[in-house]
Symmetry: D2
Subunit: 398 residues, 4 copies
């Protein structure tokens, strides 16, 4: 059962790259973006370092130098290659990386068959880790292709609906609520401990902000009105969302399906936190706190995305709409929940050491693995990040 799931997850990673050319897998278009080849290798490194080396007796690495080459950021796992130079590596080639994957898969097959105990949690973590990198492969490829003047497409996208649903405001009384992981199913360490929070009365929009609404903000001078902006986000030269460009008086944006005209009914996406925050202020609203989002979203069914539909683009705004279209910026800085302690060892670096100067995003996007969609999931990025599939929902005090 586990082996079958392992193979499904691993195969899906490979599948994401199968229609690409080897050249596409090499490029790193900015420091935050990693080459697809690197993702394919690093996910294998994760299994090797956290499962095979400690738990499979006699395991021999395919190439011991990969330990250095494909460590992402785990200081306690030893020295590692410089992140900014991942795109300088033509070797190992794609073929060699695939051989590395096969080598790891063969060994993982033996480990999972062996009945070895005490590895269940790490295997779950490895699978979820691999799925996070599936999302990153698509996010990063989008950036790689976007900086190429030829504007290649990753695949074809379905057309988008055109009707725009008006917003319904979902109102909630204040009081004490519980948030955080309740112990059922998989969750990352940063989703717990479950704990109580006090909320003042508030309302949340039942759907995401659309491109049409964002265009109104732009037409109303949103990018030129300093009173809407945090000082840190002001004067940085932003004039439209990332991936947008103006051609012959019309707004287009680069998508995984290539350059397309802006679809008014779709959620606005690729905003950074400052843009989301400024838009909310313009709309006489604010960003939700992450606890508000969780309390509300927990009451709605989860709809799938990537693994189910392969659409790789947010669907038109609808209501209720909480999962699987765009990551939603919240007003909450990413910090530990009361009582949080990271695991010991290198694996404790997974989430815990990033709890400074980042903002929490909730909901999951159209390129997030369907199994990651849940009310408690806490994604996090620096406030000026915009190459992620990030948008927003409005909130208000009552």
């Amino acid at each position: 059962m586990t082996l079958e799931r392992y193979r499904q997850v691993r195969d899906f990673t490979t599948k994401l790259a199968e229609n690409l050319e080897p050249e596409d897998l090499v490029v790193q278009s900015m420091e935050e973006v990693s080459p697809t080849k690197w993702h394919l290798a690093h996910t294998s490194w994760f299994w090797e370092v956290f499962l095979l080396e400690p738990f499979l007796p006699g395991y021999e690495p395919l190439d011991p130098r990969y330990h250095f080459l494909f460590n992402s950021y785990y200081v306690q796992a030893g020295e590692r290659h410089c992140r900014a130079q991942r795109g300088y590596l033509s070797r190992p080639t794609v073929r060699q990386v695939m051989a590395y994957r096969a080598h790891v898969d063969e060994a993982m097959g033996r480990l999972l068959d062996s009945g070895r105990e005490g590895i269940r949690e790490l295997v779950d973590l490895g699978l979820n880790h691999e799925q996070q990198h599936q999302e990153l492969i698509l996010t990063d490829l989008k950036h790689v292709f976007s900086v190429n003047p030829l504007r290649p497409a990753y695949g074809s996208l379905p057309s988008s609906a055109s009707a725009i649903r008006s917003v319904e405001w979902l109102e909630f009384d204040g009081g004490i609520h519980e948030i955080g992981w309740d112990g059922k199913g998989f969750a990352y360490d940063n989703e717990g401990p479950r704990h109580r929070v006090f909320l003042e009365p508030f309302a949340l929009a039942d759907r995401l902000v659309t491109n049409r609404e964002y265009l109104e903000f732009m037409e109303d001078g949103g990018y030129e009105r300093s009173e809407l902006w945090m000082s840190e986000g002001w004067g940085r030269g932003w004039t439209e969302p990332f991936y947008w460009e103006r051609r012959d008086g019309e707004w287009w944006s680069y998508t995984l399906g290539g350059l397309r005209p802006i679809a008014p009914a779709e959620p606005v996406v690729h905003l950074n936190w400052f843009e989301a925050d400024a838009f909310a202020r313009w709309a006489d609203a604010r960003l939700p706190r992450e606890e508000e989002w969780e309390v509300v979203a927990a009451g709605y069914p989860i709809e799938g995305n990537l693994a189910d539909s392969g659409r790789f683009h947010p669907a038109a705004a609808r209501g209720p709409q909480f999962y699987g279209d765009v990551w939603e910026w919240t007003g909450s800085s990413y910090s530990p929940y009361p009582g949080y302690r990271p695991p010991t060892g290198a694996v404790g670096e997974y989430n815990g050491k990033f709890m400074s100067n980042q903002y929490v995003l909730r909901g999951g996007s159209c390129v997030t693995s369907a199994s990651h969609l849940r009310p408690t999931y806490r994604n996090f990025f620096p406030a000026d990040t915009s190459w992620q599939f990030s948008g927003l929902r409005l909130a208000r005090d009552l």
Copy 2:
């Protein structure tokens, strides 16, 4: 009464510079630091722009170009001189800036005598603004002098006590508490609205962390152990607190009284947030949340500092110790309280536009105006700031 207070506050600003040479008032030793001359002028600008121009009929500025030159960051108050180039201005000279102060003071005297209504809040803000810059004059001068190889002193400091009091842990039950300004006396807009928070049970140390304790952290390899550090603070070359230097095997630090050996019983000061956070982790503790600090500190008497004693250096650790020694880093990112709205107009830029990627500090330091010491005061700085008088207190979950 108000006029008298106005004069007291204004005179104290001038007094801080009276033993300095004109040359000392010109230098900007890094972008965050402003020349004393600039502080003397900008505080006058504040009165001119927010009180005299709108409320004193017939007011004529001494030099209309100062409107541009001494605007700090108020976008809605018009164009302004580049912050990084404040140290490039030899003119207006110190004497001319003093004439500017006198010009503003004379006009403010007329305004305050005039019985004009509706300016009380702005006058209060102006006085508190001026006092914040008194603190900055000292903080900035410390930096200016510190980068000079001659290591000049600002003044003489009293000697420090040597006995170190052990820490008492103050324990608190969780539950719902109220924090924020209750409407009595002056407070900045960011201290309200008063609102309820839910806290889990916790304990706070009754005093600040000392130099002796911090030296133990250093001797235990604190700066080399990655597991103690946020990723963002790791690998930045820090090896001791700001202003510390090693001479002949001993640690010294630059103070407003010149270079002095580290006093073990004094609170450690000039830490950035990452250092404070790493120390707390090393001590098997954590930084307090700002609401925890406020709930506890509200129960203790406020002791004065700068205006009363002129000591300009934190006193030895004692208990209870909450106010007037060092600013205490909290684990709380600086964000708006529920229901917060900044005032309209340029004055709304005072605090509200900085609510991103900064951390809250509480308590007030040895160079903070005594009238600023209160449980609700929220100071804030970016996490890598260390030229402020910043230290920490430990907290623990119960």
Copy 3:
């Protein structure tokens, strides 16, 4: 005859890449380095823009967007892609670039067959241009492979001789000499006009400086003695030649054949101008002026290299040794000869616009096309360049 030569040159470019993986052709490891794929495409662009578009009626480009994508630096040929981002382009793929080459070759075949007059000089320039990029392909690949911790090799190198010939000093009387292109055979515009120069009496070493001699300089503290260095080259952190590294107390260097121990008898290579200049001062000598080099070298036979032997590495020092091992830094800043005028139009940008703040190198290296070896050839690079195959010969005043 011309068509045959065209095919030889074009085929040799392709041949240089034939044993590489597609991934190797994509990487740009620093701004000065271009991906092999880019060199393959840009050389085709040159034929397209300077020969096919103006002279072949009805020529249709394979993809009009390549005009933008593969223009290197010809402002008068239109807008162009950013040099620093050549490594961000996964598309066109290697296969597509090869199709571009074939497309251009087919059209060039027609043009050369057509008997079109007035293109002879441009065809010569195109061939020489292509050969310069053959050299760059090897130089750049060396850098790309060198930054990869796996240290892949481009090919295998012959072993090196070990005997070191002592230097003979070739002495010359001063007086008036002529230098520059005499009108026979091909030369770049910057090699003329031929003109007279006056030289004081001088001597030139008959061979290049060796690794053994350079090691003596290093062991004598050459990198730590400020009096040997130009101020501009001092304090930049250089401690050994580029590509050198110390392993277990021995010096190795990265070569196109992989990492190898330093061979004492080989010419030192990958020096920047400051290193060459400092070495010469240490040796109580100086760099030759370019006119001195030319006057002397014109008296010696030209020995081939790359196209003949495929060795891709400088041969051991021998005497006389003037051509085809390493480029020799001269003390001459790159400037126009008296009476020089670049051609009009974009082709005039080939050499003329680079005549500031660069130094002239003479002689040609082991990766230079054999047909480029001649006394008048003026290569030029900025003084801190070291990824070229650059070394030195000593000169002295008499």
Copy 4:
């Protein structure tokens, strides 16, 4: 006699600062610019280190820390303060620096009275060094004042003539000429050895390029025509000469007398080398080679400037015009003359270590000491320097 000259030179340095405020003497407005206070101190340091310490028995420095603080760039004279931070030093104050000058002057008085032999050359060098810093005081103050939005003036300037003399071309046959210091009077080491050069026939304009001519270049799109520019100077955002600004459709420039309308008849000044080179190309001419300039200028009388007239601004174009208006960019890279060797010891760093990537300027400007005006003087600056009083004269091949 020498003592009298010593006092004249030293007094003139002080006199240049006597109408300034202490604040003016502190500011460093960019790395290349030094505070006046620093110039006052560094020139004293020069006497202390090169004359008093080696030659006056029992000399005691006023403050031994000044050895570190006021060493400019002499590596062999020990560690030194960071150039970029000269503006961070409020201490020593102006008064303390003046005391340092008096201390050095008193000791120099004793040394010069003592009849000590063997110091004549060093005293000459010290005087010329001090005079170079007199020029730099004015040049640097101009920059300091110019970046201040208040645009203070250093002094008053005479008005400028308006008639523009047309250019006469001075024609010269080619052949062998001698250039360089002939051993009479003082010269810097870089002006020798005297040696022969061969020149092709050429012509030089008899006067400098004027503002009117430069405006024609601008109006003809000079800054937008890539074919006129060296690649290194293209695309750097220059649109007019340094210190120029457009107000209400007219061009003004900042001068030591404050902001003034451009005077068409005056020589264009504050060009960088790329602008001078582009202008010459536009005018179908070229920059003179330094040897051409010297051969021609040696035939014309030297007219004084600064010390004589105090005008601090170039006079209107006239003919012949070779000395004392603006430094003239030449096409010659700054390199050693044949046979040049710098003196041994720290004093050898004066000129010799800067012989890379700089261009030679000839003639002397309106702020150059009159005694520095001579045909052999070689000034040198990097090609993008424009805060010096630098302009050009045209040359042509015949």
